[in-house]
Each structure stands twice: as structure tokens, then as C-alpha cells.
Amino acid sequence: MSSTSASDEANLDTELHAHGDTHGHGSMRSYLVGFALSAILTAIPFWLVMSDVLGNATATSAAVIALAVAQIVVHTICFLHVNTQGEGGWTLVAFVFTAVILLITIGGSLWIMYHLNTNMMPGMMTGQAAQMP
């Protein structure tokens, strides 16, 4: 590569940073912290389930879900670098919006279908019919 194109590249690089935009720019520290936290937050749920530490399905499920949410937050901050400054905050807005839609879609589907299954149980139908005068 010639020296002129190298200096061009350096110019472009300063322009890039002149934006003051840190989106997608991680530091060694953020990656290492993210990796360490993720490793811990992955190891604990596997350990909880594989050696059945809590001995209670409900408690284990709740703990595993809580750890997953924590790990998703760690990944989003340390690896995806979502913060309040990136793209004037729009990445964060889009992320929060998606999270809300995601919760409504998954939570809502499970809620509705669970109740639908319960109410449509064949036994219940005959039970109601039997109670009719």
C-alpha cells in the first residue's frame, strides 16, 4: 500500500472518530468483563439443572430464567455495546421496544394457550354438561 493511501486512511479514521460515536467500539476491558460474567452466568444454571442442587423444579426454573435475563443484559452491554449514547439513544430505544414486543408475544401466547388448554379439557366439557339441568 502506498504512503498516500495510508495517510488517506488515517484521515478517514480521524473523521470516523470525530463523530464522537462509540457505537460498536468495545474495549478489551468490556470484552473480558463480559466474557467472565457470561461464563459464570452460564455455568450456574447448567450446574443447577445437572446436579439438581435446589431439588425443586419451580425454584430451579425461576433461578435459571433470572440468570438468563442477567446474561442477556450482560451480552447487550458488554458485547453489543448498547448504551444511552449510541446513535443518539436510538439503538437503546429500538432494543427496549423489541424487548417489550418480545415479552408480549411470548408471555401472551403462553398465557392464552395455557388457559385455552385448561378450558378446553374434554373432562371439563362433560362436567359442565353434566351439571346442566
Binding site: M1, L16, A18, A39, M50, V64, H75, I101, T105, S109
Partner: protein, 211 residues
């Protein structure tokens, strides 16, 4: 561009010209936000697949239950592979920012190999399941399982193809602005897939074993 800006505004730098010029090809371009919006819409595809799997997750139709067919040590191995590939991609990005072409390519290659072993282990798992008779058409639970996990695996495969393309691009053209932008988009894509995998191993495998 920078000289024009300096010439016009003396020693008080304004960013107007630079910003207008930079749009469309720099790392501060709308491409990054646009790609992020794409990833969020991709997350909604996975939301639909997670919801489907959640609704069907107890519809065994007399077929195998999760605890009978899932091999947790294998899933733990796969999870570790994907997690390590996340940090190796991070190292590639750090090398890119320092302008080290060879290091960027090296870490990128390692990331691609880890991704390929992830897909390999997943295909091995699928092969074992199908050999046991736990095929997608066996029950609603298995249909949901193969669709959700398969879609994630397909995304990882596309990510590997993208990594290979970037390795060729880097080899031919080096670390210019466009390649840096592409690597940053790929970075978001790769880390996003790891986030989706957190949902998969938690809701499909771990909670399936508890149930």
C-alpha cells in the same frame, strides 16, 4: 474533506461537512442503526418461534420427552463454543481498531472455526435425535424444537459464510473504511446470535430437563 472543513472554519472545527460526507459509508453512518433495526426484527422472528415452541413444548403426542432425548453435556459444550467465539470476535474487533490486519484475520478465522464446530455439534445432535426416531414430525414439541434450534443454526451458518466472505475481502482490500463497517455489522450479528442462544439453552434445554 477534512482540509476543506478546516479551511472554511479556521481553527474552530465544525463537523457538518464531514458528517454529511461520511453518511453512507463510515462507521457513524446510518448503516449501523439500520443493521441494528434489522437485528431487532430478526429478534421478533425468534420471538414467534419461542412462543410457538413454548405453546407446543408439552405436546409430546406419546413421543419422547425432553429429559429422555436431550444430552446436557453436549449442550454445555455447544454453549461454551459459542461463548468463546463471541470473545474471539471481540478480539478481532480490537485488532481491527488498532489497524492490525493479520490479527484481525486470525481472530476472525478462529471465530469462524468455532462457529463451524458449533454447527457441527448441533448437526450431530440432530442426527442422533432423528436416528432415535425423535424426528420433527413425531410430535408438536419436536416440530417446535427443530424449527427454533434449526433457525438459530441456520443463522450461525449464514454468519460463517459472512466471515469467510470478510476474510477474502480483508485479504484483497485490507482494513479500509467499508470493510471496517462490514466487520462491525457482522460483530453485531454474531453477538446477537449468542444472545438468542442464551434463550435457546435456557428455555429449550434447561427448562425442558426440569419439566
Amino acid at each position: 474533506m477534512a482540509t476543506i472543513a478546516n479551511g472554511e472554519h479556521g481553527d474552530s472545527p465544525t463537523f457538518y461537512l464531514v458528517e454529511q460526507d461520511d453518511h453512507g459509508h463510515g462507521a457513524g453512518s446510518p448503516t449501523m442503526l439500520g443493521f441494528w433495526i434489522y437485528l431487532m426484527s430478526d429478534a421478533l422472528i425468534f420471538a414467534a418461534l419461542f412462543a410457538t415452541f413454548g405453546v407446543l413444548s408439552t405436546s409430546y403426542a406419546g413421543g419422547p420427552m425432553p429429559r429422555e432425548i436431550f444430552d446436557l453435556p453436549l449442550v454445555a459444550l455447544n454453549t461454551s463454543i459459542l461463548l468463546v467465539s463471541s470473545i474471539t470476535y471481540g478480539f478481532s474487533m480490537l485488532a481491527m481498531e488498532r489497524g492490525q490486519l493479520r490479527a484481525t484475520q486470525g481472530w476472525l478465522l478462529l471465530t469462524g472455526l468455532l462457529g463451524a464446530s458449533f454447527v457441527g455439534v448441533e448437526l450431530y445432535e440432530f442426527g442422533e435425535l432423528i436416528a432415535e426416531g425423535a424426528t420433527p414430525q413425531r410430535s408438536g414439541f419436536l416440530s417446535g424444537f427443530f424449527t427454533l434450534v434449526g433457525t438459530h443454526g441456520l443463522h450461525v451458518t449464514v454468519g460463517i459464510i459472512w466471515i469467510v466472505v470478510m476474510l477474502v475481502q480483508l485479504n484483497q482490500r485490507g482494513l479500509h473504511l467499508e470493510n471496517k463497517r462490514r466487520l462491525q455489522c457482522l460483530s453485531m450479528f454474531w453477538h446477537f446470535l449468542d444472545v438468542i442462544w442464551i434463550g435457546v439453552f435456557t428455555f429449550v434445554y434447561l427448562l425442558g430437563m426440569v419439566r
